[in-house]
């Protein structure tokens, strides 16, 4: 049988049943204010890093909730921890603490 160059593509569907939500649980347990994010984008608008490079702090919530740890690990290191996002957040979320928890959690669950 010759090779035709076809392959089976992986599905792009988000399958909630198969997500590994340990990191999400860890972050929410330690920073409950993050439960209340409404994705308004105020954080991204004011973000020191995001105005210069391809970094979207709002999407951290999305990556975390969709358990996309790979994207999260890539993005989280772009944060400079300046805390401006925390200043503008209308839900008063401690975003800087969320970032710190994600950094800790990634290491923690990688080793488990």
């Amino acid at each position: 049988m010759g090779k035709f160059g076809f392959s089976v593509m992986e599905t792009r569907t988000v399958n909630f049943g198969e997500l590994d939500n340990r990191l999400l649980g860890y972050v929410l347990e330690n920073e409950a204010s993050f439960l209340t994010c409404i994705s308004c984008g105020g954080c991204t608008a004011t973000c020191s890093a995001g105005n210069l490079i391809d970094f979207n702090v709002r999407k951290i919530n999305l990556f975390l909730r969709r358990c996309d740890i790979e994207s999260l690990a890539r993005e989280i290191d772009k944060c400079m921890l300046c805390g401006k996002c925390t200043l503008v957040c209308p839900r008063d979320i401690n975003i800087r603490n969320v970032v710190m928890l994600i950094k800790k959690g990634i290491v923690k669950f990688r080793n488990e």
């Binding site: 409404i38 984008g41 004011t46």
Partner: protein, 341 residues
């Protein structure tokens, strides 16, 4: 019947509830701190959802205020509040005593003071105004220009200013600003068809039969552009135009825009009058500082004290339509109470 009622507040709710009770034969005294009646309605130009002139409702209320049985007391505030066996005695700042078998608190709301949201530059930059300011300007009929007299090429309406914002202490939705913002955008488009108009929103809460239709009309007929992103800050350019920053959340990128005029859609807050009267009457407040109602479904006009009732936006943010309905149900509750007691 010979029973008397004191209504505190001569705005929409106070006049409507008092008018109905006077028609039912009660003697109603309406206490108003301002020299004239009608509350904030006199500052509004057109009302959603049908864009009628606010003056039509003003005329209706001024007729209602002349119902035999009503006595209006302008420039009057309550200095003391006392319980007696048959009800209450209220003393005014002029030393007049009013006895009442029932009291209606209809002290209304205050517009959020936008200068508290300092990063938006209200009262710092020339061309940042509030929705309440715009309403007055539309009503005055003077051309809508920047402070320097230039026709604005681009205007941004900012939703949720002073609402849904833990940083200013108001976590609730003020309910009327979404539709007000879209209504005003349409009105500005009619006046200045060449001006680009952008509405920056977090969620557009266009509830009910008519509000979604206003939104659709804004898209179809008025070329209003909607950007989903909360404003982080406003700064002023050297020519007094404004630079606004938000995230364009749907494209996921930070956004900057130069505009000639920023309109802040300010929310509602319980007024100082509501706080003072609530304390004087010793009734409870809810966590937001509005007057607390004991049951949201079944007792929307009662307070924590028997004989004291609430009408209108001193209990929660309300539109003009909601306020009139709430005032009518307050009149019914007072009537029922006075028959039973």
């Amino acid at each position: 019947m010979g029973k008397s009622i004191v209504t505190i507040g001569g705005g929409i709710a106070g006049i409507e509830a008092s008018g109905i009770l006077a028609e039912l034969g009660y003697a109603v005294s309406v206490i108003e701190k301002e020299p004239d009646f009608g509350g904030k309605l006199k500052n509004w130009d057109h009302l959603f959802p049908n864009m009628r002139k606010a003056e039509e409702i003003e005329d209706y209320l001024s007729r209602k205020g002349k119902t035999p049985g009503i006595t209006l007391f302008p420039n009057t505030t309550i200095a003391s509040f006392e319980n007696i066996k048959s009800g209450f005695v209220l003393k005014s700042n002029h030393g007049v005593s009013y006895s009442a078998h029932a009291v209606i608190v209809a002290t209304g709301f205050e517009v959020f003071s936008a200068e508290r949201k300092e990063e938006y530059g209200y009262k710092i930059y020339d061309n940042v105004i509030t929705s309440a300011d715009l309403e007055k300007r539309l009503k005055s009929g003077t051309p809508l220009t920047t402070l320097a007299g230039k026709t604005p090429q681009r205007i941004a309406f900012i939703h949720c200013v002073g609402s849904r914002d833990a940083k200013v202490g108001n976590t609730y939705c003020s309910k009327v600003c979404c539709v007000t913002g879209v209504k005003q955008a349409i009105e500005v488009n009619k006046l200045l068809p060449a001006t680009q108009i952008f509405n920056f929103y977090m969620d557009l809460r266009m509830h009910g039969l008519e509000h979604e239709e206003i939104y659709k009309t804004a898209q179809e007929k008025h070329n209003i552009q909607f950007i989903r992103g909360r404003l982080s800050e406003v700064s002023e350019n050297i020519d007094h135009s404004l630079l606004i920053k938000a995230e364009d959340t749907l494209s996921g990128r930070p956004l900057k825009m130069n505009v000639d005029l920023v309109v802040l859609l300010v929310g509602m807050e319980p007024g100082v009058g509501t706080t003072a009267i609530g304390k004087a009457c010793n009734i409870e407040f809810n966590q937001y500082g509005y007057l607390k109602i004991p049951d949201v479904h079944l007792a929307g006009n009662l307070t924590s004290r028997k004989g004291i009732f609430v009408a209108g936006s001193c209990s929660c943010p309300m539109s003009v339509k909601d306020t009139i309905e709430h005032a009518r149900s307050a009149a019914f509750e007072v009537h029922r109470y006075l028959i039973e007691n």
